[in-house]
């Protein structure tokens, strides 16, 4: 291996060598990430059926999109989903990470257990949860009935949960438009949180272990209570990690597809379209018979702009509170 060491000695700092090293990864990123994004941008101005461009339509598809009530309702459904998954996932992952950061017995076991859902195939996870949620044969309703609760329709329930809770409290009237996400969507959210939490725990754990021990020691010497230690030491010093987890979870949640495709319906996105998220809407518009890839590309572009602006807003608003 002497040629390798010669190479290293002589050329490692050479910019050309650096560029060469970047080519394989760079090619993958350009071919499979950048080019598709660019082509989606271009295609969104064309009528594209079955892989053939049928003509330039300008902004017509964007105009049609903004007038489609299904587009707006799928956007609303996605917003509910994100608003459900992100805070829940962050809170539970942080809680678990703090607990797993203690010196307890069987630590390795717990860490593995929490990470297991992440490495399990999402398809398998979705199918198993679909069974758990089954109204008649599912495990969840079995336990509900065991403790004397009624059985719920879960993935078949189109009613909003606020409306259902209000109904449970005996209010027969509930304002239209404030019914909240359907119980079916809540079921999907539960699975998403369960599945994604392990990944966030690992990131939080890494963040927690980066906090130097002397701060804790100093806090203890000053007689700080555990709550004070958490809010004055852990929370601020963990903020870069929390910020990263917030950003990545938000972005991934906006792009949810697999669980929706496998767990809901038929027809997918049901009941009553209350689980039809924006990426499934895109898929349906692009790939079903009569679909138009140009239109689907327009949807993708709009989603891209939404995620990008939300990320920028998060950077502006949240990053101010981050201590690097």
């Amino acid at each position: 291996m002497s040629w390798l060491s010669t190479l290293r000695r002589k050329k490692f700092m050479d910019p050309l060598t650096a560029a060469l090293y970047l080519v394989p990864a760079g090619a993958v990123v350009v071919i499979f990430r950048m080019l598709p994004i660019a082509s989606a941008f271009v295609l969104s101005f064309f009528d594209v059926k079955m892989g053939r461009i049928r003509g330039f339509v300008g902004l017509a598809q964007y105009a049609k999109l903004l007038q489609d009530p299904t587009f707006w309702s799928s956007l609303g459904t996605t917003a509910y989903y994100v608003a459900g998954v992100v805070p829940l996932s962050l809170f539970l992952a942080l809680l678990a990470a703090v607990l797993l950061n203690q010196k307890i017995r069987g630590l390795g076991f717990y860490r593995t257990v929490y990470f297991l859902p992440v490495v399990t195939s999402l398809v398998a996870v979705s199918m198993v949860w679909k069974w758990i949620f089954h109204p008649r044969l599912g495990l969840l309703n079995y336990f509900f009935e065991l403790v004397g609760g009624g059985s719920l329709q879960w993935l078949d329930e189109p009613r909003g949960i606020f409306e259902m809770i209000a109904g449970g409290l005996g209010w027969s009237w509930w304002p239209d438009g404030f019914a909240g996400p359907s119980l079916a969507l809540i079921a999907v959210i539960i699975v998403a949180v369960w599945r994604g939490i392990g990944y966030n725990i690992v990131i939080f754990l890494a963040g927690l272990q980066n906090i130097p021990g002397q701060y804790y020691e100093a806090a203890r010497i000053d007689g700080a209570s555990p709550a004070q230690v958490f809010w004055k030491v852990t929370w601020p010093l963990l903020s870069p990690t929390t910020f990263y987890v917030l950003l990545s979870t938000t972005i991934v949640s906006f792009q949810v597809f697999t669980q929706i495709y496998l767990m809901t319906g038929p027809p997918v996105g049901g009941p009553m379209g209350t689980t039809k998220v924006i990426v499934y809407y895109l898929f349906e518009r692009g790939f079903d018979a009569g679909g138009n890839m140009g239109y689907a590309s327009a949807v993708a572009l709009v989603l891209f702009v939404i995620i990008l602006s939300l990320t920028l807003i998060q950077r502006r608003v949240v990053e101010r509170r981050v201590y690097y």
């Binding site: 059926k49 053939r52 049609k64 008649r136 027809p267 009941p271 018979a289």
Partner: protein, 424 residues
Amino acid sequence: MGRKLLLVAVVGVAAVFAVAGCSKQEDGDGVVEVQFWHAMGGPLGDTLDGLVAEFNETHPDINIESVSMGRYQALSQKIMAAVAAGEPPVLAQAYEAWTGELIENGSAEPLDPYIEGPNGLSPGELADFVPGLLENNTWDGTIYSFPFNKSVRAIYWNKNLFEAAGLDRAPTDWDEYGSMARTLTRDLDGDGETDQWGTAGQISAWMFENLLIQNGGEILTPDGARAAFDSAEGIEALEFMVRLLTDYGKVTSGYEYQNDFQAGKVGMIEGSTVSLSYMEGKYTFDMAVAPLPHGKERGCFVAGTNVVIFSEAPKAKKDAAWTFIKWFTSPEVTARWAIGTGYAPVRMSALESESMQARFEEIEGLREVLAQLEFASYEPRSAAWYAGRKYLEEGGVESALRKQKDPSTALAEAAVAVNAELGG
């Protein structure tokens, strides 16, 4: 050592890909390979595979490779993607709306040259097809697809429960449909809760569409440009459906209603004739089928797909695919397909065949159910309706059956969504 292992692994993976790349079917020994994409699962897939195997045995120069793609939606997505990639199969099941798209794209092979060719069908044979079927496969005077798996709806009724309720036959009109369902809805153990239902069903645009034309309504305006199902006839039909399935019955998710019927908890259900193959041998009571009750008029929609040959395939494969279609739709084979699956035979003479007659002896009422083919209607074929139909199902029928909206509001809102689809 570690590096060596890695090298072996990399080479191994590369070799697998290389071999996979080469293993694409080559037509050796003069056998023509024909890939056939379909969405037939369960007992339907078993029957289809059996018939395909028989065809391959009796036609040594052709090998039909039957590939199940799962659901229809998945099949359509795979076909559209394969056509876009320029690599469609030779033969595939397709709804009329898909065929329309394929014709527009130049991917659907016109079948008239095959029908009129040396290996074709005589005028007498063509006249033997169930009336309306070939017309429904014709675009601008050219036949582009061939009827494959066609079904109609039927009433399945539990004779024992009917007898216990003092009824001796299936309903023949809407009034009887409602009143019998009411009579069959019972609280057997007196605990104040219903434990036997008159009927049950799932959320289905198909059931509504049948009720709609029985009530004298139409799905779309005659020019196909606007929704017509939100008419007074449509509202009345949906009100009747809601009354049937919620007052004297229950709405279940998916095919659960069939399980409830098989368990003897439901007096009668509406279902496709194909449900026969799923239910066969799974019930212990006397079961019979009956044609749909008539409203103001008789009416029934034919459902199911056709088969298309893709233009992109080489001539020899297209000829072989036609040979398969011709064989599959011959009176004897279509009768056996019908017996195995519950689909309607596509040839009138098949109804008179010995095997079909024997089947009629087995399943009481099946003859009358299949006789509905004579006045059957077909759904609009446009891709816009195919895309818009889900708004009728989700927005219209589903929200009314779940009592989220009253039928007139539900249909009016669905019509707005469907019109947007038709107009765009």
